[in-house]
Subunit: 165 residues, 2 copies
Amino acid sequence: MNTVETSEKINVVITPEELLKHWEGHRGLTRRLIEVFPEKEFFEHSIGGMRPAAQLIQEMMDVSTGGVREMAGGDSGEIAGHGVKATSIAEALDNWDKDTAELFENLAKIPVEKFHERILSFGQYEGTIWGNIFYFLDNEIHHRAQAYVYLRSLGIEPPAFWDRY
Amino acid sequence: MNTVETSEKINVVITPEELLKHWEGHRGLTRRLIEVFPEKEFFEHSIGGMRPAAQLIQEMMDVSTGGVREMAGGDSGEIAGHGVKATSIAEALDNWDKDTAELFENLAKIPVEKFHERILSFGQYEGTIWGNIFYFLDNEIHHRAQAYVYLRSLGIEPPAFWDRY
């Protein structure tokens, strides 16, 4: 860490690099949640008519990585909704890793000067870059927490929420 | 909004005022979630041995408001864990409103220059001010999402996640 970086941190809530690291911690936790699901239940178990974990995880990837790709100048792609690309947990983890790498590669491309510009994400969600980024991350926390309940209802201990590495 | 404020926004991810507004939006959503719970189920309904919604909501108040109070120079108080102060939804909403007012009164007292200082919250959670603040907010999103599943399992439509006012 150089002196300039330290001094830049003094007058801000969070730097773009810290935001990235913070999100990486959350992605690591979600990965561990996917790992502990039983194969069948990952794709099928549901409560109260909600989508199974595999669909919630697919949505996180479509929303966050598509949304941030668009902010970095690429195409957002589509939000699968009820579609799931993986057919096994191993494949889901592989997709998750590739998706996470792409997410952070694109996030790092967004200069801090752009965070207060406005964007129409996916052609329909209007907001600031920072606001939509926080929305994407909050959406991941929200859906992952629902998958926590699925695990608990199956008698399985989920990974500790506070443990982000 | 004056020119200074606008120019301050150009080179940061999020300003302290925006963080406060963002969190206020989440608090409003959680309030609407409390409102739609049936009286008995708010205090008793649970899945997989988890704490009922009333306990999850109490934890949010203890963690966030106690933690931020401590950052603003006050005493953190204790995290109730399984204790719940309210005995009705009306009382829970009243507690929530008072707690929310205190939370943001204290959050507004923390100068941005302090966000990268380190703190030992509740005498045990070591981190930066910004890191612990984000932890508190993420914890609220996490537990609220679990209460969403409780509502769905009761056949009740929760408030829309994207609707934050």
